[in-house]
Symmetry: C2
Subunit: 377 residues, 2 copies
């Protein structure tokens, strides 16, 4: 079965449909991050209302709590969590390797200590696939090794080989109807990235992800790595740039042919009071918004902007009311969802280059703009 | 203008309508507590959906943050907070006297330090009324002194006189169309309670509250104080028992002729995972709910029970997801709202005594039942 149907290309940008076990998902798509089986601060019905059809959950977190067997017994993550859209699960590689969790990497798999209670766990590539199948993910990710930045060429080269061997075992272990994506690694070495991609292509995955970013590398280097690989990925399979990013990064990624994105930025920033507008971000805690009767963004159609002023949202944020996190998250995710709709409309209309140029001119990053562009978690 | 229209009495229990600046409110009514201008963890639209027509806000908190002048300039609390129902503001007496805020009581008013930043403030009875009028409350409360429990007869007697003098000044200061309620004090001395009530009756307030409870007194003593006063309050004016309580307390209060209640119990307990069911409370964090596919309460019609299992709600609570507080709060407030509807229907049908007996038989307080019954804040 072919998971992706490309409807239209515009340069390298592609408009496509991803067939999942829980419906069709139009790409390019941004997947909100629901680490523990729920997108932080809001409800799944809010996601449905704003048109989100696919979210990311985290196999590492759900394996630890409430446990993959429990989710399986409850009928899978969609039934358990009351979400009728698609779910992609991150394998946990990023969490295990990059979030400071105590871990040991061996050929057989990874041994690590839980960030919750310090308990010791071993996960093999086979078990990681089983965990994701128990969760009931529509798209599963292979176990991979994320190398730190910087890492030596030798270490990274050996790591690419390990990731390939693990990917082979994941491919064999796959048992259900979920899609399984391979993850291209290779640190910041273009030739290793290419080798990783070619190794994985031989295994014929349902889709290909680019992982191992958000580890402190300069943004330019990251895009070089993307460029090194993208042209070698098959046209008819989904391409997923993991853990990215700010709006400008998503627009850039689409231009390079990426179909899928996920990032904690819209949700985490919302909880920090950093809100997206058509020209960049504002921080709602600033005193200047204390008596500002305008919505966050006058052009926004979200339910927060329809009902609440900056003044009230500032009050809620400063008073640390839980509804602040809710209302801010609704706004930021609506912003991302609308951005993806605009991107898809531009590709559909054969005017993505124009969209890209207009966006780049208009988008200043706002008062909070900074150079950091990638995220994960 | 008469604020209250009694439609039906059943024993001492009354079914009535309170006319406010923001619509009619059927009584007996339970007002969810929205201390800082929002009921914690949920949105005003959720309150509207479940039929809540009146909430409590706290003048002390809103005076400190964002400030009453700001709320006035933003068009009042309803416009500022996007809430189209009625608002009663607590004067702040309870906060200033009982929450450990550093304060000094003088004839002129109270001097206290902000719990937020330690800044020093003085509020006279006149200013307290102005603050509430700036906020745009539909019902304002007089400044009163809450005496600690226990307090000597002499101290309490003097305090009643001070509360009466302050009430007189509040009555004179009232400027707008808001309703103004007097607050009966008198500690745990029935004769002082009665004197306080008679003093206030001479001032002809729009309604009468019973305050100064939730200070550590035994429940039986509290009810004695209520009994001492209730028969002396005018039939055609609203009676408000401040800061109460558990469902059994509300049913008891209605039976004694109380029209209005407020309490943080349903919302605070929700955030602690303590959820109301038809027979009492359960704590969702218990391991026994880990694989429980039932809703919190199979007879409940709330949106949480319609969509989520105890197993998932336990996961959200244990994982400290913000949506846990939201979903739990929706459930508990729906429970209280439905309880009030049932109470009103029983009075309307002339069968409140039967309702009272059935409720008392069925209601066991649940696994978490304890003797504490009053709350405030």
């Amino acid at each position: 079965m072919k998971a992706l149907t490309v409807a239209r290309a515009d340069g390298q940008a592609r408009l496509a449909t991803l067939q999942t076990g829980h419906g069709l998902v139009e790409t390019p798509v941004f997947m909100p991050v629901g680490t523990q089986g729920t997108v932080k601060a809001i409800l799944h019905r809010d996601l449905t209302e704003m048109g989100v059809r696919m979210v990311l959950a985290n196999a590492y977190h759900l394996y630890l709590r409430p446990g993959d067997a429990l989710i399986r017994d409850m009928g899978g993550i969609q039934r358990f969590a009351g979400w009728d859209g698609a779910v992609l699960t991150d394998s946990g590689g990023y969490q295990i390797f990059s979030l400071g969790v105590l871990r040991k990497i061996q050929e057989e798999g990874v041994t690590f200590q839980s960030h919750i209670d310090g308990s010791k766990h071993f996960l093999s590539p086979e078990r990681i696939v089983e965990v994701q199948e128990h969760i009931g993910a529509d798209v599963c990710m292979c176990l991979d090794e994320c190398v730190p930045y910087p890492s030596s060429y030798e270490y990274t080269s050996g790591s690419v080989d390990l990731t390939t061997r693990w990917a082979t075992r994941c491919r064999t272990a796959k048992n259900g109807s979920s899609l399984l994506f391979g993850i291209v690694q290779g640190g910041m070495y273009a030739d290793l990235r290419l080798r990783s991609a070619r190794d994985l292509l031989e295994l014929d995955f349902d889709g290909y992800a680019l992982g191992g970013f958000s580890v402190g590398e300069p943004k330019g280097v990251m895009w070089e790595m993307v460029d090194a690989v993208m042209g070698h990925l098959p046209w008819d399979k989904p391409r997923y740039l993991m853990g990215l990013g700010f709006p400008e990064d998503i627009v850039e990624g689409v231009r390079k042919g990426v179909d899928m994105f996920d990032c904690v930025i819209p949700t985490r920033h919302a909880r920090n009071g950093s809100l997206f507008t058509g020209t960049g971000r504002i921080n709602i805690k600033h005193a200047r918004y204390g008596r500002d009767e305008r919505p966050i963004d006058e052009d926004c159609g979200c339910s927060t902007c329809a009902r609440f002023s900056r003044a009230y949202l500032r009050h809620l944020f400063v008073a640390r009311e839980l509804s602040s996190y809710y209302l801010n998250t609704v706004h930021n995710l609506f912003f991302y969802t609308k951005l993806m709709e605009e991107i898809r409309a531009a590709i559909r209309g054969g005017r993505f280059e124009q969209f890209y140029r207009d966006f780049t001119l208009k988008w200043k990053g706002g008062e909070l703009h900074n150079g950091s562009s990638v995220c994960n978690g």
